[in-house]
């Protein structure tokens, strides 16, 4: 009996241990190491808070965070606005037997490398790219527009990536929604718009928020897209972190900037979790 009790206590731990070990090894320990590193001086070592104070006192560092938050907010909002109708069409309008194929076609662009896709966007948006040639060729504009190497280009590249991610999370949420909710709303006299606004949208908000949070996390930490499409005309936080490492190898400052970035992500998570009680979903 007692042996059964011991085994009953041991087995769950045995099953959880690999995941815990993984988390400790690849998240907790590196995070602690990064924390220690962020509190040491680049030259000569020793404890210092100067890596953090630099962020708050140097306007161009601070501006990098502002830029990152602005770009991430725009990308998240635009992606949600585009992904929701797309997911709704897939879930509600496409016949069930075609849905799998439609989803596969939707994620097809992801089979191409992220870097290649970013460079492809650069060619599309370039001065001699597809869009400018079409506009100048049709006589709509006389001089090519500057589309590449701008914040617009960065946002476009990001949105292309994240719309599909959000579509998948919202689609899963819409599919889980029982049709009886809509039938009940119709029985009570609600039209399609009212049903959507008062029944479907609130019930799919957790899916939207999960997707939006994932978009926020991946977007604010991404280095490649702003580097390739933004033309380095404004710095975002990941680029600022990379700058510290390239030649100077200033890992303490890079660590401090990374921890500040993680703090922002944590605040975003807490805001989402409190508002929508994601932890109970």
């Amino acid at each position: 009996m007692s042996s059964t009790g011991n085994s009953g206590r041991v087995l769950p731990w045995a099953l959880v241990t690999p995941a815990l070990g993984w988390t400790v090894l690849f998240f907790v320990l590196p995070f602690i190491a990064m924390g220690f590193s962020s509190l040491t001086a680049h030259e000569g070592g020793g404890f210092t808070l100067s890596n953090y104070s630099q962020f708050f006192t140097n306007p161009s560092y601070w501006q990098a965070m502002v830029n990152s938050l602005q770009v991430t907010a725009i990308v998240t909002m635009v992606s949600v606005l585009l992904a929701y109708p797309f997911a709704w069409i897939l879930a509600e309008q496409v016949p069930e037997r075609w849905q799998r194929l439609a989803l596969m076609l939707a994620v097809l662009p992801f089979w191409t490398s992220y870097v290649v896709r970013s460079y492809s966007w650069l060619l599309v948006l370039a001065q001699n790219g597809v869009i400018n040639r079409a506009l100048t060729g049709s006589g709509l504009i006389s001089e090519p527009l500057q589309l590449a190497n701008t914040r617009l280009a960065t946002v476009t590249g990001f949105v292309h990536f994240f719309v599909m991610l959000l579509t998948l999370t919202i689609f899963a949420n819409l599919k889980q929604l029982s049709p009886s909710y809509r039938k009940a709303a119709a029985d009570l006299g609600a039209g399609p718009v009212r049903t959507f606004l008062h029944v479907v949208l609130p019930l799919t908000l957790p899916g939207i928020m999960v997707g939006a949070f994932l978009t926020f996390v991946l977007c604010i930490g991404d280095y490649i897209t702003p580097q390739i499409l933004g033309g380095n005309n404004e710095l975002l936080m990941p680029q600022l972190v990379m700058m510290q490492i390239g030649r100077r190898g200033d890992f303490p400052l890079a660590s401090a900037l990374s921890i500040i970035l993680m703090a922002v992500v944590t605040i975003a998570y807490l805001a989402c979790a409190r508002w929508l009680k994601i932890e109970r979903a």
Binding site: S3, V10, Y61, Q127, Q227, G231, I245, R247, G249, D250
Partner: protein, 361 residues
């Protein structure tokens, strides 16, 4: 249930033992393979199979390469490695003393290297020789200068750095995203010597950089700069030289570079051998191969980027020499100045100035 749990645990234990054994075997096999290989910490031009294959075949070895960008990143890889993991390293010539200070490098035997065949100006003994011992040998060099499309700009304008900030080319310019050489070019533009820059020069340098930024469409690393010039997004690249235009010359012969009257910034990369290398003989053979006329020609025309070979006897074809403007090198070298080599404090201030320039609207 307890019996079942006990079985599950013993099965798990057996599997873990098996996995450990398999991992140990794999690791053992890996270390055996590494013992016969040469491990090189390199820039992307050395990963070209056309460069490595002849050496591998001649010596019946495998060259394992790990690419990095920037001395800081390279040093970080070394810091995170075990002594003996690496045999050779490619490094900015001006940064060789940084590696020597850290006790990383082995002195090179000068009598076994073709030092007499090198362009004298690129030997850079001030950096590659420390305490009377040679720790690095320059293998490739070039200029951070003006790269341009000669069908879109007036080539005569490209003979002066003043054109880079004139309204005539507003929105037609890209800036190469590496603060040291471009700050060096800004120094040349305001009549300062790159070797004599001090903190007092920073305000004037910043003003010059901001003027360049006001004319620029983008600030990009190697690939982005090349793409911008190749696609016609910009017509001029500040800080780009033969390493941008030479590789694209076949597809677009309109691309060229100039060494303006104010001068250009000389970049130079060196090869160094690790003190803890387990294959010092092979490492030396590799350095000798890279420095040989054949190795130099292959390195100079590597698919990642072209650059001038340090060895005057590099076995380049006439066409390759023409693209690299081999014959004009004595004149170019006479006008070139070295990379700025600031101390740690000034280096940090220069990087912060660069960050401000990037954020400027």
């Amino acid at each position: 249930m307890s019996v079942k749990s006990g079985n599950s645990l013993s099965v798990l234990k057996r599997h873990l033992h098996a996995a450990c054994a398999a991992t140990a075997l794999l690791l053992g096999a890996g270390s055996l393979a590494e013992a016969a290989d040469l491990n090189a910490l390199i820039w992307c031009d050395h990963s070209d199979p056309a460069l490595l294959q002849p050496f591998e075949e001649a010596n019946n070895v495998k060259v394992n390469v790990k690419e990095f960008e920037g001395t800081g990143a390279g040093m970080a890889i070394v810091d995170q490695s075990q002594p003996g993991d690496w045999d050779v390293m490619v490094i900015d010539s001006i940064d060789v003393p940084r590696g020597v200070e850290k006790g990383l490098f082995e002195p090179l035997p000068e009598d076994k290297l073709p030092l007499a065949d090198l362009f004298p100006q690129v030997k850079m003994d001030g950096s590659t020789v420390v305490g009377g011992k040679r720790y690095g040998i320059t293998e490739k060099f070039g200029y951070n200068t003006i790269g341009f499309n000669k069908t879109k700009v007036d080539p005569a304008d490209m003979q002066s750095l003043v054109s880079l900030t004139s309204d005539k080319y507003k929105g037609k310019v890209a800036i190469y995203d590496y603060y040291l050489p471009v700050i060096g070019m800004a120094a040349l533009a305001i009549g300062k010597k790159t070797a004599e820059l001090t903190e007092a020069d920073l305000p004037a340098l910043k003003e010059e950089l901001l003027k360049m930024k006001a004319n620029a469409k983008l600030v990009g690393e190697v690939t982005a700069s090349q793409t911008a010039l190749a696609t016609g997004e910009v017509d001029i690249l500040v800080g780009g030289g033969e390493w941008v235009t030479a590789g694209l010359a076949k597809e677009n012969p309109a691309l060229d570079f100039s060494i303006p009257k104010e001068g250009a910034v000389l970049w130079s990369q060196s090869l160094a051998m690790f003190k803890d290398s387990k294959n010092k003989d092979l490492a030396l053979k590799f350095i000798q191969y890279i420095m040989s006329p054949e190795g130099q020609a292959r390195l100079a025309t590597s698919s990642c980027y072209w650059g001038m070979p340090a060895n005057t006897k590099a076995a380049l074809t006439d066409d390759q020499k023409k693209v690299l403007r081999f014959d004009e090198q004595p004149g170019f070298l006479a006008r070139a100045q070295a990379y700025p080599a600031p101390n740690a404090d000034l280096d940090k201030k220069m990087q912060d100035m660069w960050t401000e320039m990037l954020q400027a609207k």
